[in-house]
Subunit: 482 residues, 2 copies
């Protein structure tokens, strides 16, 4: 396999992938069932303002645009070519791109290294052309780029209506990224700045994209799904650099021999020792999730919506004793400690309680219900712990049991809290009960920026990730060696 | 604390808790904001056919029923008294129950051992009366019983519309059980046979309820949330006995010092060494979940809907390569192995694939889409692996990406599979993509008994639990010592 050298100038070239002024879509098709049709349609539907040139030797016009037989027949300069033709045709297209002095190509086609030896040769061939011509490649075997700031995309998977936001998502793989994106847009309260599908990573890899995203003002959090690592040292350095300013959350699969084998036939990824990768993450302040996409999104949501905690002392407010016990268990596993609530806090909460009730942390507010109702119960407890200097973050565990606990506008509580302008402390919530009410409260809370989780474990894990990143930063600031 | 002896006759007495012919509701109230009102109303609304007697010295009639000043003033025999009055009044009520020769009491009131020393004394006092009179107690500090087969309940938390089913749920705690129950009924595809909230377990404990449920024909799976264990040896013996016929899934919290402390002030549960409890579960074939309620329900759903696998060889059918890699990783963690698909299976799937595609396990069916469409792609792959003798269970990972993959009636696929009457093999699915489509497919699949999970990890963990239980049974059948 041909190796590219690391060169800072090359990184600048990535801007052509995200902000191209002119794009050739090679393999654009009039047939509405073909990927080449979807790809062009996505780009036009999104409202991309740059110039778009379909390339297809068998068509004069596609979706109202003049089509060209070859890339090098386009009169205009071309920043980026997106290629979606059968793999065996790609080397010839690369020659055309070389003639045209195209700056970057995104190769969406499959049928390369991931399929075995002959595919590997094909991939080597296109890389040789690219190296000679100074063309950078994203892919092959990917959906490529989505940039919500300029409505640019190379995705052949249909896209939902976009919600712009502060999360960049790097995935190795196409349809998975598309499905994940649909899931994010339709289910998650945060928005997206960039999505990058890297595919086989024959040239551009995670490290370079991370370098680009470090400087991207639209991106606050970076979430990554990766299978293989090509250049561990380079990744280590860039991880360290990025986490100085932005959290990185990584889901890396191919952890077991069975997973590695499956990964080999998927993106042709090389195996990497999983324990080494774990150590790299720990030393660079990168949050590695142990689960799957659900956990990646759980934690990404936390970083996207909430401030970092100043320390590891947590107040748990709960309606059920059982919830408090489970949350306390999970806090211990996450390196979080239950705060010793101040006397002032205990008094504020306890003064309305029946005589038999004891105020502790976890704060069980159920005994308050009969005295002041559920809405004020939460307000009293939440305001008390947010004012308490011993508390760095708050977990609220609530249930939606219709008729027993009347439905109320949960937004009021959050607005009341926001109004009081406490020093920012992360607030995390878990809800359980009647599905419709849970969904209503979830929507209301997340619109106000308070993340909701459907399991206590997931809720506390997400807070644990914020604390873990903060602890890394604190240690580094104190001159701790990593 | 007074200890009760183990006595087989006492177990039979539990039937009065589940199938009472006559019930006194002590603390029934006309005030629609009081728990004592909810409790009586629940019982009447559910349509319980036994006799119901409200007890309240300050009322003549409650909800249309004649009220009595004391339990022992009721003319009829009383099988069960449900008590929901302030804790200090309970000893007197117990004396009345003793005079009336009541067989069992459910004490819903709080304010006992969980609140400290004086509460502990109160709890000891009522237990002394009960022991002398031969009355069994469930509680205190609980919601008690729900039996869907005769519409009987002692719950003061409002109940949703019931779906009868094969899952019994034992919880230590009231509002949590209520919230969990709402969650189950509104979100889960399985139904419930019994719910039992044990509270402080001053008398009747998990072991006795398990013994009752072993013989309960309505119950196929038993899910337990517990904090403390009172009599480990007794629990060990009953675990062994029950798992011969029915799976037990346990969520035990209070695993860490912080959790134990929280548990102490919740149900006054005594700490139990967590590693010992873990070992007990392993040796008795009990599935202990490491997460929280979400995982408990994930696994319970699996047992409720699917047959056990005959072995640990899994076929993974996936639309995204990334999904296949993650599922393969998780299988390895769960002791599941990827099946070597037979040549016949590989041919059936491969014959429609484009030439560059390679069929493996995980089976990536995306290359089939252009040839036969998504619906037939799944059918071809699913039927092939279900026919394959090398395969014991199947995981299907699907995405809902509108326009790209057209919406189709996913039920057709399942019905096609069911029609063919293969040897039963568990089928588990994971869905990701556009929320509305994911929810539609989830409903359609689960109506046909195919469980759907929103994360690959959770999906494979649930299958792993089925295999773990089956492996325990196989080992035991071969004379393996536990």
């Amino acid at each position: 396999m041909v190796k590219m050298d690391v060169n800072p100038e090359k990184t600048n070239k990535l801007k052509y992938f995200f902000e191209p002024r002119s794009v050739a879509v090679v393999g654009a098709s009039r047939n509405p069932l073909k990927f080449g049709h979807f790809l062009l349609k996505n780009l036009l539907d999104l409202g991309f303002k740059g110039k778009v040139y379909p390339v297809n030797p068998n068509a004069d016009q596609i979706l109202g645009l003049k089509a060209y037989a070859r890339v090098d027949m386009i009169e205009d300069d071309i920043d980026l070519a997106v290629i979606i033709v059968p793999s065996f045709k790609v080397p010839k297209i690369m020659e055309d791109c070389s003639k045209k002095r195209v700056k970057g190509v995104v190769i969406c086609s499959s049928g390369f290294r991931e399929t075995g030896e002959s595919g590997q040769k094909l991939e080597d061939a296109i890389l040789t052309v690219a190296k000679k011509a100074g063309i950078r490649i994203i892919g092959p075997n990917t959906t490529g780029i989505l940039n919500t700031s300029n409505n640019f995309t190379t995705s052949f998977a249909p896209l939902p209506k976009l919600r712009k936001g502060n999360v960049a998502f790097i995935a190795q793989t196409g349809l998975f990224a598309a499905a994940a994106f649909w899931w994010i847009v339709s289910k998650q309260p945060f928005g997206v700045s960039k999505i990058i599908g890297l595919g086989n990573k024959c040239d551009v890899d995670d490290a370079e994209v991370l370098e680009y995203l470090t400087q991207d003002e639209d991106t606050k959090v970076i979430a990554i799904y990766m299978e293989g690592v090509k250049n561990g040292r380079k990744l280590f350095d860039i991880f360290r650099k990025v986490t100085e300013n932005k959290p990185i959350v990584v889901l890396k699969s191919g952890r077991t021999p069975a997973g590695m084998k499956a990964s080999m036939s998927h993106t042709g990824s090389l195996a990497v020792n999983d324990e080494i990768f774990d150590a790299v993450c720990k030393q660079t302040g990168v949050i590695r999730v142990s689960g799957d996409l659900e956990e990646l999104l759980d934690i990404t949501k936390a970083f996207a919506l909430q401030p970092l905690p100043k320390g590891n002392k947590v107040a748990i407010i709960t309606v059920t004793g059982a919830g408090g016990v489970m949350a306390a268990d999970e806090c211990a596993k996450q390196g979080l400690e239950l705060a010793n609530l101040s006397d002032a806090t205990l008094n504020k909460i306890g003064s309305n309680m029946p005589s038999w009730a004891v105020v502790n942390n976890p704060v069980d507010i159920e005994p308050l219900f009969e005295a002041v109702g559920p809405e004020d119960s939460i307000k009293i407890a939440l305001n008390a712990v947010l004012e308490d200097k011993n508390v760095h973050s708050v977990i609220v565990l609530f249930v939606a049991v219709p008729r027993f606990i009347p439905i109320f506008d949960i937004k009021d509580i959050i607005k009341d809290v926001i109004k009081r302008k406490y020093e920012p402390k992360p607030i995390f919530t878990h809800l359980i009960g009647f599905k419709d009410t849970v969904e209503l409260y979830t929507r209301q809370l997340e619109e106000e920026g308070v993340p909701v989780y459907s399991s206590i474990e997931r809720c506390v894990k997400a807070l644990g990730a914020l604390w873990s990143y903060k602890a890394y930063q604190m240690k580094k600031a104190c001159g701790g060696k990593h």
